[in-house]
C-alpha cells in the first residue's frame, strides 16, 4: 500500500496522507477502524476486556505493512491536530507505560525550519541604529531583533495582548487562547528570534525577570494553588498536542549519564525545540526565578500518596534534567558569544 511517486515507491511521510491511502484499502480500513475503537476506550480509561485486548493486538500486527505505522507529523503543518490524532490512534496501542510515551510524532527537527535568517545582518542593523543604544540587557536586545521581523513583532503582540487581557482589571485571562497564541508564536516565528528571546543570558535580576515574564506566567500556567504534577500530566495526556509535545520532549531531551553533552540524542537543537514546544500546553515550563537558569513545571509533589515516585519523575524531567540544563546553557553561551561579537 505504498504510494507511487515518480516511479519510486515512497512512504507518505505525514499521517494524513497515510490515512488517506489506508482508507482506500478495505483491509487496512477495517484494521484502522478497530484501532480507533481501541484508542477511544483508552482515552475513556475503560478497562479493555481480554477479547478487546486481543483484537487491538491483532489490529496492531496487521498494521505492519501499512504506511500508517511509520508516518509522522510536522510541527508547522496545517491540520497538525488531525495528524497527531491519527498518529496516536495508531501508536496509543503501543504505549505501555502511562508516562513513558516513547517516540515523538514529529518529523526530525533538523529539516524542519525552512527559513534561515541572516542574523548577523540583523544584528548589524540593530547595533548600527541609534535606537538600540548600548543596552547591556541581552533580553531587551533580543526584543530589538524581534522588532525588525514582521512576524515576530506581530505574533509577539498577538500572544502578549491576549495573555494579559482581562488580567489588568483584576479579572482572569483566557488561558486557552493564551496557550494557543503562545504555541503559534513558537511555531511560526523563526527560531533565531524565539531562542534569543527565551534563552537570553542574564547577568542581573532585572534581565532575569524580563526573561521569566516573557511567556506571561500569570496567565500561561500560574494559578492560585499549585496543582499536583500528576494532575498536570493527566490533562496533558488527554490532549493530542500536549501529549505529542511531551513525547517529543521525552525523546529529544532524554538525559544520558555517560554522554558528554548529557543527552542521549546528542542534539541540543532538537531538545531546545522540544522544550519550546511545551510552552502553551498544560505542562508549560518556565524559569523558577529571576536569578537562575533553572526551569521547572508549575506543580508540586506534596500529597502524592503512593504515586510519590511517579510525581517526582514528572517534576525531575525539567527541574533536574542534565540534558535540558546543558542544552539551555549552551544556547545562552551561543547568544552571549553573538552579542559580544556585535559590540
Amino acid at each position: 500500500l505504498l504510494c507511487r511517486a515518480g516511479g519510486l515507491l515512497a512512504l507518505p511521510r505525514d499521517c494524513i496522507a497515510a490515512e488517506k491511502i489506508c482508507l482506500m484499502d478495505p483491509a487496512c480500513n477495517a484494521t484502522y477502524q478497530a484501532l480507533e475503537n481501541c484508542s477511544l476506550d483508552k482515552t475513556r480509561f475503560l478497562p479493555l476486556s481480554l477479547d478487546a485486548r486481543t483484537r487491538c493486538r491483532d489490529a496492531k500486527l496487521d498494521l505492519r505493512s501499512s504506511p500508517l505505522l511509520h508516518c509522522k507529523c510536522h510541527r508547522r503543518m496545517r491540520r497538525q491536530k488531525h495528524c497527531l490524532r491519527i498518529y496516536w490512534t495508531v501508536h496509543s496501542s503501543f504505549t505501555h507505560g502511562y508516562f513513558n510515551l516513547e517516540t515523538s510524532p514529529y518529523e526530525d527537527p533538523a529539516n524542519e525550519e525552512p527559513w534561515k535568517i541572516d542574523y548577523n545582518k540583523l544584528a548589524a542593523l540593530v547595533s548600527g541604529s541609534h535606537l538600540a543604544g548600548d543596552s547591556a540587557n541581552p533580553c531587551l536586545k533580543a526584543t530589538h531583533f524581534c522588532s525588525l521581523n514582521k512576524k515576530c513583532v506581530h505574533l509577539r503582540t498577538y500572544y502578549a495582548s491576549s495573555c494579559t487581557k482581562g488580567a489588568e482589571s483584576g479579572g482572569t485571562c483566557d488561558q486557552h487562547k493564551c496557550h494557543k497564541r503562545l504555541r503559534q508564536f513558537f511555531e511560526k516565528v523563526p527560531e533565531d528570534f524565539t531562542k534569543r528571546l527565551l534563552f537570553c543570558p542574564c547577568q542581573d535580576e532585572l534581565c532575569g525577570e524580563r526573561r521569566r515574564k516573557t511567556i506571561v506566567p500569570e496567565c500561561s500556567f500560574q494559578d492560585s494553588i499549585k496543582p499536583n504534577c500528576l494532575l498536570l500530566l493527566d490533562s496533558c495526556i488527554k490532549d493530542h498536542i500536549c501529549k505529542s509535545r511531551l513525547a517529543d520532549f521525552q525523546q529529544n531531551c532524554q538525559p544520558a549519564g555517560m554522554s558528554p553533552d548529557g543527552c542521549s540524542q546528542h542534539n541540543h537543537a532538537a531538545c531546545l525545540q522540544a522544550y519550546m514546544g511545551m510552552i502553551g500546553t498544560a505542562m508549560t515550563p518556565n524559569y523558577v526565578g529571576n536569578s537562575s537558569t533553572e526551569v521547572s513545571l508549575w506543580c508540586t509533589c506534596k500529597n502524592s500518596g503512593n504515586q510519590q515516585e511517579e510525581c517526582d519523575q514528572i517534576r525531575s524531567m525539567f527541574i533536574s534534567n542534565k540534558c535540558l540544563k546543558n542544552t539551555i546553557q549552551s544556547q545562552m553561551h551561543l547568544s552571549q558569544a553573538t552579542l559580544e561579537g556585535q559590540e
Binding site: S129, L131, A132, G133, S135, N137, L140, T143, H144, S147, L148, K150, V153, H154, R156, T157, A160, S161, C163, T164, K165, L206, E209, R210, K213, V216
Partner: protein, 106 residues
Amino acid sequence: ARRRDSPNCTVRRLMVKVRDLGLGFDSDEIVPFKYCSGSCHRIRSNYDLTLATLLQEKAIKPGPLGHVASHPCCRPTRYEAVSFMNVHNTWQTVEKLSAAECKCIG
C-alpha cells in the same frame, strides 16, 4: 509607475523607541510604527476641484490648522496593536497604535 513627486497613499514603517511614542510609556523596547502617507489627489470630485480653486483664489481661508481638505485624506482603514514590556517588566499593549492598511478616505 508612481510619479516621483507625490507618491500615492501607502503604509510607511519607522522603528521608534517606545519612550518616543509620546504616550507616556516607560520602556526601552523599540517597536515598528506604521503610518499612512501619500497623495490622494487622483480621486477628486467636483466638490474637491471647486474647493481647491476657491482656496487658491483665497475666496476661502483654510484656518489655522489647515482644517479644510480639498481632497480625500490618506488615513488608516485598519490598525494594529503593539505589546512590549516596560522597565518594570510588566507587559503593556497599546491598542490602535500602528496603521495596518491605508486608503484615501472621505
